[in-house]
Symmetry: C2
Subunit: 324 residues, 2 copies
């Protein structure tokens, strides 16, 4: 079994060797730039690991793995336009460095490229793989729409939020694991368990990320503490707080949500103070743990040599205990 | 053989019955709206006709035909954002009626839907059909990028322009004819002739459209005369004029191209006057005729019953002599 860093290098190398045309340069330069921004390459690594889990040679699945990563980067590119994000991995976003029109078209093209890469699976798995990939792509779009809808909704529920992150973030992680397993000839039942493993892990991962924003070790996390609080995101912490809050605390949370001119440091401090008084850390962690445990159960149910599962357990552990 | 109007109705009905989800409504309402704006439904009609040409039952290809139309509408939706177009078929564009973020995401989702519909071909043609469709999708994006590039370029050549419209407009028309023929079991040679027929026809069609803008019968055409002149588009007329022009006329054409505050009616009149003095109508028509004749030659080379080709000749005639 190969390590995560082995797969990550394989993917970086594969991405750098993607045979993209030079012209029109204002289409392909932004695509190369976006793909070159780096990242954890979690989804393609998981795809390849889920393949190797069944003693298949994952190198044959490199193209579809790159497809998953190009697709993920396409969604980030378009999300950045919608979020008006100036930076991605500490560098200018495509719509800032070029312009929004260029970013729209580069994203569209990346989606096509991702389909072309995904098509390079064995013929016997082509239809199933493509159907799963396309179904997931629709889900990612739906999740993004719900996420945008939530910005203007006052009564977002925790189940609605979990559904949203399930679509926007976790479905593609599940899809990656599914495609890797299916293409190893693991059968639909095993592939289904891996899908559920990935999807539950993806939800737990997003909840973990939400929690770290307020309760992580900022230095290790490498991010501003309370970034989500400052951008008024309705994360699991905010939603759990609203659920646990009495009318007085609700009013106060809503006041901070609308306080555009508040001093950032005091806003973060005050909101985290409210979270602490409402035991939000514990509530959110309890939900996260449910998804995490379900992910572990699904992985346990996969019929594959226990020793082969080790790398997936390691990946999981690294994702979930990171930077705490 | 069925008529174009038969296919058009079939497609309208198929589009209205697409089983799109209701939620999230701010994702699917714009998609339904965009698809419901109507249009000639040229591409899916051509796909179905190219299928029936070989005595195949085109009803089996309805889903891929709808896929071509949904894809075409996705490109129009994103193009409208980039062009900042307020209207599409006399109704508000999606980015105006909702907002650009909604329009980006609705377009992304329509592209996925088009792939899902396209996947519904017979297994033996799946890979070839999808490869052709995805290759064409990349070409459409490249064509759109060249089109945007040309807005800021002073020295666009006629070959570069023909390449651009070949990618942006004609490739999808060729692709439609190809998929229809291939899925009828017509073989790659016949399907190749139909691709070339569609692509050459598509270029001729776009050139015809360019010519009608200045030299069409406005009343029948249902459009403002000189719309391209007023929006400073580098159409075949402008490019042929620049090629035929001496330095005096070049300077005058460039002056009008940069005249933002000119009275619209005089601008159109003056520019058409220059076009006439430079015999631009004749130059552009000669180029158009070359592509049209090549299209006819390709159709003649298709091995299919002559009587079956009649509907395609009728479609071609209607496209090329329309509103003159």
């Amino acid at each position: 079994m190969h390590s995560e860093s082995y797969f990550r290098e394989l993917i970086e190398e594969g991405l750098s060797k993607l045979d993209l045309p030079r012209e029109p340069s204002r289409l392909y330069d932004p695509i190369r730039y976006m793909i070159g921004l780096g990242g954890k390459r979690l989804r393609p690594s998981l795809l390849l690991m889920s393949n190797e889990l069944f003693d298949s040679d994952p190198i044959e699945l490199l193209a579809p793995a790159l497809g998953i990563e190009v697709f993920h980067n396409f969604t980030l590119l378009h999300d950045d336009i919608m979020d008006k994000a100036p930076l991605r991995r500490s560098r200018e976003t495509v719509h800032k460095k070029w312009n929004p029109d260029i970013a729209i078209l580069a994203g569209d093209t990346m989606f096509v490229l991702s389909c072309q890469l995904m098509m390079r699976v064995k013929p016997e798995y082509l239809r199933d793989v493509m159907n799963t990939f396309l179904k997931t792509s629709v889900e990612v779009c739906e999740g993004q729409q719900y996420d945008m809808d939530f910005e203007n909704e006052n009564e977002v529920t925790i189940p609605a939020y979990l559904n949203m992150i399930g679509l926007k973030t976790a479905a593609l992680i599940g899809c990656s694991a599914y495609i890797g397993a299916l293409s190893a000839g693991a059968g639909r039942e095993n592939a289904g368990h891996l899908y559920n493993f990935g999807k539950n892990l993806g939800i737990a991962f997003q909840l973990h990320d939400d929690i770290l924003d307020a309760f992580g070790d900022a230095a290790k996390f490498g991010k501003q503490v309370g970034g989500d609080i400052l951008s008024n995101k309705k994360t699991i912490l905010h939603l759990a707080a609203m659920e646990n809050a009495g009318s007085k605390e609700k009013a106060e949370l809503n006041k901070w949500l609308q306080a555009a001119d508040a001093d950032p440091a005091s806003k973060v401090e005050k909101v985290i103070g409210i979270y602490e008084s409402l035991h939000v850390h514990e509530s959110a962690t309890a939900i996260k743990d449910q998804y995490f445990e379900q992910a572990m159960k699904e992985l346990a149910d996969v019929k594959a040599p226990a020793s082969n599962k080790e790398m997936l357990y390691k990946l999981t552990e690294r994702l979930m205990v990171r930077e705490k």
